[in-house]
Amino acid sequence: MDTMRRQLLKGAGATGALAAALAAGLLKPTQVLASEWNRTAFEAKESPAVLKALGASGSSDSKDLQLKAPEIAENGAVVPVEVISNIPNTISIAVLVDKNPFPLSAAFDFANGAVPEISVRLKLGQTSVVKAVAKTADGKFYTAQKEVKVTVGGCGG
């Protein structure tokens, strides 16, 4: 299986099974290559533009998509965010910070038994809505959001 990893790093095409599993994802990468970073989505400056770049403009809120983040962040530099999708056949999850210069923070495709849950730590330049977007295998998009307040710092630690 080392073979596959090397193939991936070299940018050779993913195996058929992988391609099938990942092709339907948010990012549509079939290879792991820096050049395939979704520049359009990551460099979009407003959340609607990010959603558009992900093909998720027509998304709707879902109670089955859980977004866990603090009401008030102790420090905007490191805000823990967890997204859990209970929506059947979720294949991808993306996380956005509306007020950041580039809202799209991270996006993950799941395959081969990966549970559609992701825990990340994000920077928030200011108080902002944090959004989660989930995509299902049939191409539907769902969202969840939560406002995270960023407080003024004191001294020390």
Partner: protein, 104 residues
């Protein structure tokens, strides 16, 4: 060369929990240093996780991810002893691969 990652993988029931800690500056390209110069953007763009030889997570990341990133994932169908391999590649082409075995 980039510093090693810390990978922790452990079975919780039938799910393997994988936590990855990466050493990376994750510079946004918008921050100024003490001299007032912009620090160039330098951040991880791609992350992959393989468990037991199968690609399970393929991620892309932007500048909003915190410095020294931490990611946590869960994988079904894995078992203790399976190898977890994590890769990252950043916008400058730097990369790093580390691995760990899933603990019982």
């Amino acid at each position: 060369m980039a510093d090693p990652m810390k990978i922790r993988a452990q079975m919780k029931g039938d799910v393997a929990e994988v936590r990855v800690l990466m050493a990376h500056a994750m510079e946004t390209g918008q921050r100024k240093d003490n001299a007032g110069n912009l620090v160039p953007a330098h951040f991880i763009q791609q992350v992959t996780v393989e468990v037991g030889g199968k690609l399970v997570i393929q991620g892309q990341t932007g500048t909003s991810v915190s410095r020294n990133p931490v990611f946590a994932f869960k994988v079904k169908g894995a078992k203790a002893g399976d190898k977890v391999v994590v890769n990252w590649v950043d916008n400058k082409g730097d990369k790093r691969t580390d691995e760990a075995a899933i603990a019982a």
